[in-house]
Symmetry: C2
Subunit: 220 residues, 2 copies
């Protein structure tokens, strides 16, 4: 295993519940009442897809213009909550640990560059870490496009890489890319949901994953 | 089946994500950083037990005085979010539907009377509905005490009643009471987690449950 790719929200940073709140407010502001659990299970999709998915599920008939307006409202609401978002235990040690082991690292996220940048600094990433955001590739998960791009930049083949993520969309994207997927329960999906969507293993959080790198074939 | 008991938060009202936020703020205000998903999976426990559970899991060493202070901080934070909490689709039709079928109804909740009362009005409950809150019985779920009390008031035996809830603590309490437990996925627990904790069936939400009352033996 030559590289590990990480999702950001719910995997490295404890932001899923803030995203649920921000989406919930954004929909409500436009007159749509969408249950929290239905939003929760779609966080990790890219924003337009999340809106489309809820539009179709609840037959909201939102329309293109209001979709953009909802997306902007979410971005504003999340920005006001961003300072409350914590890193998960161990997240700021990952880059150093993998570098010492000679393993490449990337972050692939549906988040906007603007939101992600704050956390990239807090995560103490080595210069070699590849960061793919919505701005560098808008076709984010569950598409494999961002993973393809990260693998290309890291110069590794799909089967030499593992994606670590908290959502079923991460697991789907890793399968589409031809890489292994490892789940972390820190985004509020259950272990069973992650396993059923193709996770090779499911850990509590990245801290537990770091302590068990041997289980995906990374040795000291 | 002569009576159906309902949990409130996450079952009749879409409040779990607000509770996660309120607990998260309450802990953080006291200097404790507790991940959102760990709070989420304990919402539905009564407040002192939730604090004790997180105290033990994360070895926070909170102490009795600060526990009370955290509980009060959560109550204040939740109060400020209460107006944003929506009823789940169909929740305000349950009382009328069950009354027409001659089936008793109760609500058993770890919530404080003050928080619950607002929602009891919005739910259009018939006068016959028994409401047990933390104020009428502080030993709330996962204990069976509130269920025992509701069954007594409804004059039905445990096996003549079903508890509908969104959390594994509801399912545990229903087993301890000797009643059936039916899960709803609307609190963000997965179907698998609810089934594994003893749910006879798991529905998407109370609306789906209402449409399938025959499946627990209630006929028109």
């Amino acid at each position: 295993m030559k590289a590990v790719l990480f999702d950001l929200d719910g995997t490295l940073i404890d932001s899923v519940y803030q995203h649920v709140q921000a989406w919930s407010e954004a929909f409500l502001h436009h007159g749509f009442c969408v249950p929290g659990f239905e939003i929760h299970r779609r966080v990790g999709m890219n924003a337009p897809l999340l809106i489309d998915a809820l539009d179709r599920t609840f037959q909201l008939d939102i329309g293109a213009e209001r979709k953009e307006s909802i997306e902007r409202a979410h971005a504003r609401a999340f920005a006001s909550l961003r300072d409350k978002v914590m890193l998960f235990d161990g997240a700021d040690r990952i880059s150093q640990t993998l570098e010492r082991l000679g393993v490449g690292m990337a972050i692939v996220t549906s988040a906007a560059e603007r939101d992600a940048q704050t956390f990239f600094s807090r995560l103490h990433l080595a210069d070699s870490v590849i960061c793919i955001t919505r701005d560098s590739d808008p076709t984010s998960k569950p598409s494999a496009s961002q993973i393809d791009r990260a693998l290309h930049a890291l110069r590794v083949s799909p089967r030499e890489a593992t994606l670590v993520g908290d959502s079923t969309w991460d697991m789907l994207a890793s399968r589409l890319a031809g890489s292994l997927g490892v789940g972390v329960a820190s985004g509020g999906y259950s272990r069973e949901e992650l396993a059923a969507s193709g996770a090779l293993r499911v850990y509590r959080d990245v801290s537990e994953f770091l302590a068990r790198l041997e289980e995906i074939g990374i040795t000291r």
